[in-house]
């Protein structure tokens, strides 16, 4: 059996992710366009969710790489992926603290 190449795995994940997120944001925009008269917090919530998923997408990509390198027993690169993840989480922590 041919092993799955990391490149095609990432390509598929990013493609699907971008489409899903774009659809969520488009839905939020549509709602806010058609319900402009009434206060419509749902539209803002959907938009915010879409933006949140967009930010999660690269994080998911790093997690996929981490799992892949760990499975390959490529420990240097597993460590590199872990450092990147921790740095991103540190940013989130700073953001929450600074709020």
């Amino acid at each position: 059996m041919k092993p799955i190449r990391i490149e095609s795995l990432l390509a598929r994940a990013l493609n699907v992710g971008t489409w899903l997120t774009s659809i969520v944001i488009a839905a939020g925009l549509m709602l806010s366009l058609f319900h402009q008269r009434t206060p419509f917090p749902t539209a803002v919530h959907i938009l915010t969710a879409g933006i949140g998923i967009f930010i999660l997408l690269p994080i998911l990509r790093v997690i996929l790489m981490l799992i892949f390198f760990a499975k390959e027993r490529d420990y240097k690169f597993t460590a590199a992926a872990a450092v990147v993840l921790l740095t991103i989480f540190a940013g989130l922590a700073i953001g929450i603290l600074a709020k």
Binding site: S22, I51, L57, K76, I94, G95
Partner: protein, 286 residues
């Protein structure tokens, strides 16, 4: 936020994305100047919206490069340790830097981009792969990529990694401060420091941009600095524009696009610099 504003943001972002996409650049470099100078959005919200659009553009355009084996994913994750560290520093710094300084740095980055657009990129002379020793091989970063014009795989080495890492840290810092992808700093770092083939450095830089941006965007998002009714239309517009731009690229002469690009960059740079200095200068005169 009314409907007109959302439509305006969307339309402007489509245009910015298309212009960027025609030259394989993210729209981020246009978004902040347009939103602040013409849209009267304050610079922090503009940066927040822009950084999300940067993630969107990078994610949406990554697949073809990955499938074409142009992206060096191992090198990318290694360099991302430096770019995300830079982004984290940027997040910590951004509150302390006066807005006029941000405008100034942005103006300078726009001018560097314009200069880079004019200078033709050339492939660095590929080092002969004879003695496979040294840092690069212990990390197994060297790779090959398929060259369509030559019709065969080209092997390349990754050189001078430490300098590359330092430049990547700076790129990450600028990315977080200004809400741009800073491909404009990553690509020369890869061309001149790491000596990678152009196609590999473009693809790898584009791949890294989303993770670098996520490091700062995550912090801005949880801090509440990202205004959804601004960032939403901008992100979607940029993706649509980038796809259109990549299509247009096939039909328009590359030189003409390059010239248009340079003119736009210089015009925006001038406006950003005026915004940075203008008020104080006029106050000094008066």
């Amino acid at each position: 936020m009314n409907t007109g504003t959302e439509l305006w943001l969307f339309t402007v972002s489509v245009a910015a994305g298309a212009l960027g996409g025609m030259l394989g650049m993210a729209s981020g470099i246009f978004i902040v100047p347009i939103l602040t100078l013409w849209g009267h959005v304050d610079i922090r919200s503009a940066i927040g919206a822009s950084i999300v659009s940067v993630i969107a553009c990078s994610c949406s355009s990554a697949a073809p490069f990955l499938k074409g084996r142009l992206t060096n994913v191992r090198l990318a994750i290694l360099l991302e340790t430096a770019t995300t560290a830079g982004a984290l520093s940027g997040v910590l710094l951004v509150g302390t830097i006066p807005v006029s300084y941000l405008f100034f740095i942005f103006g300078v980055i726009l001018l560097i981009s314009a200069q880079q657009m004019l200078a033709k990129r050339r492939d660095p002379a590929l080092a002969p792969i004879l003695s496979l020793t040294g840092r690069s091989t212990t990390w197994r970063l060297d790779s090959t990529y398929p060259d369509r014009t030559l019709g065969r795989d080209i092997a390349y080495r990754v050189q001078r990694l430490p300098i590359g890492m330092v430049l990547m840290y700076v790129a990450g810092l600028i990315s977080a401060l200004l809400g741009i992808g800073s491909g404009v700093l990553k690509v020369p770092a890869m061309d001149t420091a790491l000596r990678l083939p152009i196609k590999v450095s473009s693809a790898t830089s584009n791949f890294m941009i989303s993770v670098t941006a996520a490091a700062s965007a995550g912090a801005y998002f949880v801090r509440g600095d990202i205004v959804a009714p601004v960032a939403g239309p901008v992100a979607l517009g940029s993706v649509v524009g980038a796809i259109l731009g990549a299509r247009l690229l096939m039909s328009i002469s590359n030189e003409r696009v390059r010239l248009l690009f340079v003119v736009v960059l210089v015009a925006l740079a001038a406006q950003m610099l005026v915004a940075a200095f203008g008020k104080d200068w006029f106050r000094g005169i008066a």
